[in-house]
């Protein structure tokens, strides 16, 4: 199979207007990926699927990633070929920002395998996939508001007493029980029992 750079050159030749760049992977795995601009992404996907030298007929994995530092949300597609048994070719699509312009073209029409996984990305990251046939929440319930996999997600304050609080839970515990549980943790004797009686 051709390298990622060769593939990018070939795609650029085929889709002259498209912005395609290679994202290098510095780690030992060296699985480099192609960053596509959203608008021609579906055409490129169809090309990748049908090109006789590539035949990437199998989309294995769809991952949503939140990059607060880059100010975008990202979707990563891992493509393999079942016909030619090679891969992976990794595609990345990025939204413009993390708040309002979070629309990306759905690749479900190209690979049905994306159906549930894109729904999951929609559910957990809030990326809206256009032309997805059935874009609903999948793991969270329909009435749920936020997108829990985002890095800045703040979980609702449904604090439940925990005997051994750490980190964020400890912070929360302090808010709920101004003195008792924290003192309780510091002194195991009577106090470890005292919060239990409270809820």
């Amino acid at each position: 199979m051709e390298t990622t750079d060769q593939l990018r050159d070939r795609l650029l030749a085929r889709f002259p207007g498209a912005e395609i760049s290679v994202v290098t992977n510095p780690g030992p795995a060296a699985q480099h990926s192609l960053l596509l601009s959203p608008s021609p992404a579906r055409d490129i996907a169809v090309f990748l699927r049908d090109d006789p030298a590539l035949r990437l007929d199998y989309c294995s994995n769809v991952t949503g990633i939140d990059w607060p530092t880059l100010g975008c949300l990202e979707v990563v597609y891992h493509l393999y070929s079942m016909a030619l048994k090679h891969g992976p070719v990794i595609l990345r699509l990025r939204t413009t920002n993390r708040t309002d312009a979070v629309t990306l073209p759905s690749l479900t029409p190209v690979w049905r395998a994306c159906e549930f996984q894109e729904r999951e990305v929609f559910d957990l990251y809030g990326i809206v996939f256009t032309e997805h046939p059935d874009l609903r929440r999948i793991l969270m319930w329909d009435e749920f508001k936020d997108h829990p996999m985002r890095k800045d997600y703040v979980e609702p304050d449904d604090y439940e007493w925990e005997p051994t609080p750490h980190g964020g839970v400890l912070e929360k515990a302090k808010r709920h029980y101004p003195a008792a549980p924290v003192a309780g943790v510091a002194d195991p004797g009577p106090a470890s029992a005292s919060p239990a009686t409270k809820p």
């Binding site: 051994t164 912070e171 919060p195 239990a196």
Partner: protein
Amino acid sequence: MLGSGLLQGLAVTAKNLVGSFHDPARLTTVEYPEQRTKLPEAYRNFPFLVSENATDPMGTLRCVACQICEKECPPQCIYIEKSKDKKPDATGRPQLYPTVFDIDTSVCMSCQICVEVCPFDAIKMDQVFEIATTDRFTALLLDREQLAKPNDYYHTIHPTEAAEVDARLAAERKAAAEKAAAAAAKAAAAKPAAVAGLGEAGAPGSSTPATTKPPAA
């Protein structure tokens, strides 16, 4: 012919029905409270703290409150408070010790990671599994008195592993003792050096800062 597959199936079940009366391989039930299988040596369920001495478990805990296990525990079910002072451990060296060592067994998933990361062989996996209780919070929160079990107990549940650990510890202590002796031989001239050496031996634990845990208010 239609029905031959059904008859074959009936033959198999008949064989099992008859077999259940004479063939132990075809009646595999162990009737639990009365009958018990022998637990394999590797079986693990909930950690316990190893103490050197059964008579004074709190005084001879191997744990030096380094808090590595607390940090590494995936479900965050360990809570440790480090002591302010130092007490001599089994070898007589002054060490920190845990004033609080709680494990919330309602959260613990017996993954054994605390055991693997412990550099002092102070926490080991127990084999208890009948700990059902009607009190969800306090009864499942084990404190250090409940967690401490003597080394002999460790030997009874994991004999092979315990023997290895003892051998290793003995070797380490011997090496440390030799080092200390060598240092003592050199001593008179440079007394402060020996003290520094001791401090170094206890270092991996005591120097690990409790970064994850905000100080209790």
